[in-house]
Symmetry: C2
Subunit: 155 residues, 2 copies
């Protein structure tokens, strides 16, 4: 099964996002990889992404959940609507209607984090994605993103 980078397949005019835009030089440049069913991303926070000494900033973790969740939504719908063959060619952009993040355990600094996202609801109106963040193989954060197609008014 072919794996592809979701954010590399966003349209040229919509790839400036601070969290995951390939054109945002000051951004986080999160890269999510779609395997046909779920999306995975690896991200190592910088030393400045601190909350309290030793622990990663919750706002950064929320940002990772947000971008990875939106990417998972886009690929899930491409998979459903276009099938795997074309899924890497025409990803539609989604926006966040709501974001929920449970900080289950503190997330340690200096560790590569693993994100896994998969959709639990996927229809034309909205996609609900669960994102889990692991450090040292242990679940730290569980998030849920309600993603909706980018409205015409934002084009």
């Amino acid at each position: 099964m072919k794996t592809y980078c979701i954010q590399d397949n966003y349209p040229e005019q919509y790839c400036h996002c601070y969290g995951c835009g390939r054109k945002n030089k000051q951004g986080l440049r999160i890269k999510s990889y779609w395997d046909g069913k779920k999306a995975t991303a690896m991200f190592t926070p910088g030393p400045h992404h601190i909350a309290l000494p030793g622990y990663v900033y919750g706002g950064l973790l929320a940002s990772l959940v947000d971008c990875h969740g939106i990417g998972t939504a886009a690929s899930t719908m491409a998979e459903i609507e276009l099938g795997q063959e074309d899924a890497d060619l025409r990803l539609n952009r989604y926006v966040t209607a709501s974001l929920h993040v449970d900080y289950l355990r503190p997330t340690p600094m200096g560790v590569e984090l693993e994100l896994v996202g998969s959709a639990i609801v996927a229809d034309k109106r909205k996609v609900v994605v669960v994102v889990e963040i692991f450090a040292h193989g242990k679940l730290r954060v569980k998030g849920e993103v309600v993603a909706v197609p980018m409205p015409k008014s934002m084009e």
Copy 2:
């Protein structure tokens, strides 16, 4: 009634937060002001804090909700436990147990945002804070932070 900056009254060892730490040179340096009942903050996103062209990144807005909510929790409890006279002297640090953000309307770029936070639950175990973000006087984002006292294990 005396107004003070919440983050300027965090203890020296706990003021490195990427979102609001006065010692984090690369951070956002959010400043929340407590008036005895609620906290207010003003923040102007940078041009790199973009989502789609013209609109502010949702992860940044979640970060603003997080830090402003945590600050509101700390001052709310100081007000209850110590009274207004001492509230600017000994703020305890809180951490985020969960964060919920509803993106009600797109938030335009290039505008100073106004944040207002107030507690709807406040006891020794947890503080629940509602944070609203306005742009051009219109509500854009409504968030809820569940704040808990920093556990001993994080000291």
